[in-house]
């Protein structure tokens, strides 16, 4: 009887995982659609190698690449090796690399070809037979977005959307939809085949350590919570500045623009994590419930108000790092009359008890003065100042700045006395930098996200209702910008801090932080 009781106890919880940093992952077969593409080449395959190097992959791990290119398993393995050798964050250990690539399989064909799914099913069954048990299955869609519903539908039709005695999950890369309507449509098509619990919508920003640290900073420190509200916060700026242009991505970028490329996903996720209420537990649905609640509290602008709360612009010719660069409309592959924005700035409000009347300013742009992603929370000024400010910069409101890149960290500006006989004040910085306080190198976001998908932990993935809430905020802006075909698009010189028109978004003498 005692033995039966212990057996039941063990069935409920694995007694061997206590104290382990790396929790077990069920044996898995990973299928990458678009396996010859740039994302697989630069990120996914190197991430898989690093997981293998650390011993973090499941006990039994199989990988299948699917893409249109007609090639054999051996060619794909060679391509995978080259990708890993070139882009892995650590130098590959030859035996581990051999072990990872040795059994990789490749299925060539068009994503709408039934034959591809028939062959894929055969390879998956072969893996299951070899393992003597069904492996969990992950279908990773790293393709152009128009193929997402096609692949999901074909997987369902081929009977691959579920597997007896094993979990099946689908990971979908961004962009998830083009606007609210297309996101709803895509959600409907995917959820027609898969259950929401099987769907993992990626926003790789959520896999970044600093972004996750936002939650640690807010909910593990009593220092910040008392001031994290409308009583103390004057305004918040979220900046995602890039010092590069569109590279060879004109085809994609012309159809996307800055609002879709960065604001709708990454920046809005930062805003949600910054403003959400504390979740009751760090569980996927509890965290996502709180994010959804706060996103729903952001009232989308009326079409006629869009011009008052948003600015779009394009980079013109300019100089970056001493080098002349062309303007956006002069880039190869870009329509000379393009109206696609390379810069977007918004003023949003979170209409709830905590954040009423606090403006949130978001800006992002390409070819700006420097690369910087940060959140700056500016507190209200002190109510009374007893010090003379003559002869000094004076007392400035405190700022809490969370830097996502390039140097991950947190800094707080404080007013401090300038040494000397007089009481003169200037702002100083109290800084915490990841690089100086942790020995560990942060893993690539994709390593964390792939592992979480294999574990079935969706905390860092976007839920269907969340993605629709995100698009719901952005949709009126997209519509207004799309419908306005005559107003000139402001131009800013490449290498500058952005268009002067963005300054008008900030009321009450506020100013954007310097890039």
């Amino acid at each position: 009887m005692q033995s039966a009781a212990v057996a039941t106890e063990f069935e409920q919880e694995n007694p061997l995982i206590a104290g382990l940093e790396r929790l077990p992952v069920r044996s898995t077969a990973l299928v990458i659609f678009g396996a010859t593409g740039d994302l697989a080449h630069r990120k996914l395959l190197p991430a898989l190698y690093n997981l293998a190097h650390e011993g973090a992959l499941p006990e039994r791990f199989e990988m299948i690449g699917v893409a249109r290119r007609d090639q054999e398993d051996l060619d794909f393995r060679e391509m995978a090796r080259e990708s890993i050798e070139r882009f892995s964050r650590r130098r590959p250990d030859p035996p581990v690399l051999d072990g990872l690539t040795a059994e990789m399989r490749y299925v060539p064909g068009a994503f709408d070809d039934d034959e591809v799914y028939s062959e894929l099913g055969g390879v998956l069954r072969e893996f299951d037979e070899r393992a003597g048990e069904p492996l969990n299955r992950i279908f990773y869609l790293s393709t152009a977005p128009q193929f997402f519903p096609v692949i999901a539908g074909k997987l369902g039709a081929a009977g691959l959307s579920e597997c007896e005695n094993a979990e099946t999950r689908i990971v979908i890369e961004k962009p998830f939809g083009y606007d609210l309507s297309s996101a709803r449509q895509l959600n409907a098509e995917v959820l027609d085949v898969f259950d929401e619990s099987q769907v993992f919508r990626i926003d790789h920003y959520l896999g970044k350590e600093t972004v996750q640290n936002l939650m640690a900073l807010r909910f593990a420190n009593a220092l910040f919570e008392p001031v994290w509200n409308r009583n103390f916060v004057d305004h918040v700026e979220i900046t995602a500045a890039e010092d590069i242009g569109i590279g060879g991505r004109a085809g994609y970028y012309e159809g996307a623009g800055a609002l879709r490329d960065l604001v709708q996903n990454h920046m809005m996720q930062l805003l949600a994590l910054l403003t959400m209420e504390p979740p009751t537990s760090f569980n996927a649905d509890r965290v996502r419930d709180e994010k959804l609640k706060v996103l729903e509290a952001i009232v989308p602008p009326a079409i006629e108000d869009v011009s008052k709360m948003s600015v779009r612009a394009q980079y013109g010719p300019g100089t970056i790092g001493g080098k002349r660069v062309p303007g956006y409309r002069g880039e190869e592959g870009v329509d000379p009359n393009s109206r696609t924005e390379t810069y977007a700035a918004l003023r949003l409000h979170v209409s709830n008890w905590r954040w009423a009347d606090v403006p949130f300013y978001l800006r992002t742009g390409k070819q700006l003065a420097r690369k910087l992603t940060e959140i700056a929370v500016t507190l209200k000024p002190v109510p009374h100042l007893a010090f003379q400010s003559i002869g000094s910069v004076g007392v400035q409101p405190n700022q809490i700045i969370l830097t996502v890149q390039p140097d991950e960290g947190v800094s707080v500006t404080l007013g401090a006395k300038i040494p000397g006989p007089r009481m003169r004040i200037r702002p100083v910085n109290m800084e915490f930098r990841y690089g100086t306080s942790f020995m560990s190198e942060s893993p690539e976001a994709y390593e964390r996200l792939i592992l979480d998908a294999m574990r079935g932990d969706a905390t860092l993935f976007t839920r269907g209702d969340e993605i629709e809430a995100l698009w719901g905020i952005i949709d009126p802006i997209l519509t207004a910008w799309h419908d306005d075909t005559t107003s000139p698009i402001p131009q800013y010189p490449a290498g500058s801090a952005g268009p002067p028109e963005a300054d008008a978004l900030l009321e009450d003498d506020r100013k954007w932080r310097r890039l």
């Binding site: 104290g19 990872l100 690089g435 306080s437 020995m439 560990s440």
Partner: protein, 354 residues
């Protein structure tokens, strides 16, 4: 890597601390993008003639360096302190920040060990965890530093007498948190055994374990006992001391419930590197799983009536001894609640020695 160096003979702790502060201040003034790392103090007490070897081991820890390392080299007959302080850094590129690390070497005499706290305490960074590693014994130094340190790093595989090694680990654990490199050598094996029994259908078979054989390098019996102790403590076995098995390791039984028992065997394996070479567990119903060290990871071999014989490679790169020490430094920030119970069980299993 660039370095700024200060040294002084017949010096004192205040002068060493002041020199470190000045080196950091000067370097930061010269390049404000350089900031001092603030992670961990590591105090290492060594025999002076082995100072170079230990310094080399510390260099091979990969990225897991302590931010301030204080190497105390004990030299017979010495009565004064000589010290060298080094601040090392890579100049930052591309507008990022660079990190400075500090290392101090202090030559001192055996007479000074009983008051080592008065030398080390002024030199460690306040508010950072402090780890002590004393690979050549020097218990007097460890006793003196008791109130200065938060973590003791040791290697139970380093002491040939396993009974004494595990007793020492227990003594240290009673006083501070212990990071035992012998325990860290078992980590991949624990992870893989946990993974192997993770599917709910297999977890139930944990109660029907009938045998466990652990193969280890001759000098790594402590690691083997800790692995056996871990399984015994996590599965609540009623353990008995293992007995020598005719010069071929140790064997014995642990009772799981009533009269059911697990046969435990520790066998030495011909292996150059320290640590474990393999582990085999057998369950009721004819299922067995073996994990053996192989190129590129662990070679798994499973045998069961329903699935027959299977073999596959569980991927993972070997960390090497440098990596193990680096992992030990990293683990100083963490707390593993399973080491203590595993150590107690390992002591009971290994109580009778060879």
């Amino acid at each position: 890597m660039s370095e700024d160096v200060w040294s002084e003979q017949n010096t004192n702790p205040d002068a060493i601390e002041a020199a470190l502060r000045e080196l950091l201040r000067e370097r930061h003034a010269a390049n404000q993008a350089l900031a001092p790392a603030r992670v961990l103090n590591m105090v290492v007490v060594v025999d002076r003639e082995w100072k170079g070897e230990i310094a080399n081991r510390l260099e091979r820890v990969g990225r897991y360096h302590a931010s301030r390392t204080i190497l105390c080299a004990v030299e017979e007959g010495r009565e004064t302190l000589d010290a060298v302080a080094v601040v090392s850094y890579d100049e930052p590129r591309g507008g990022g920040i660079g990190v400075m690390r500090e290392a101090v070497e202090i030559d001192l005499g055996p007479e000074q060990l009983s008051a080592l706290d008065t030398i080390v305490d002024p030199v460690v960074m306040s508010d950072l965890p402090t780890v002590l590693w004393s690979p050549h014994g020097h218990d007097e130094a460890a006793a003196a530093l008791r109130d200065v340190i938060d973590v003791t790093l040791l290697d139970s595989d380093d002491i040939p007498d396993t009974v004494a090694a595990l007793a020492r680990a227990q003594d240290e654990l009673n006083l501070a948190y212990v990071v035992d490199l012998a325990w860290l050598r078992t980590t991949p094996w624990r992870e893989r055994l946990a993974a192997s029994f993770d599917p709910p259908s297999r977890r139930a078979t944990l109660v029907s374990l009938e045998g466990m054989t652990i193969r280890h390098q001759a000098s790594s019996r402590a690691s083997a006992l800790l692995l056996a102790g871990w399984l015994a403590s996590q599965l609540h076995w009623d353990i008995r001391p293992l007995e020598p098995a005719n010069g071929e390791g140790m064997r014995g039984r642990a009772y799981t419930s009533g009269s059911r028992y697990v046969d435990i065997r520790l066998e030495t394996a011909d292996q150059e590197v320290p640590g474990l070479a393999g582990v085999t567990v057998t369950c009721g119903g004819g299922r067995s799983l073996s994990l053996d060290r192989a190129l590129g990871g662990l070679r798994a071999q499973e045998s069961s009536p329903d699935r027959g014989e299977q073999s596959w490679l569980v991927l993972g790169a070997s960390r090497g001894e440098g990596g193990i020490l680096g992992e030990g430094v990293r683990q100083s920030h963490l707390r593993d609640p399973t080491y203590g119970p595993a150590l107690r069980a390992a002591r009971e299993l290994g109580r009778d020695g060879d």
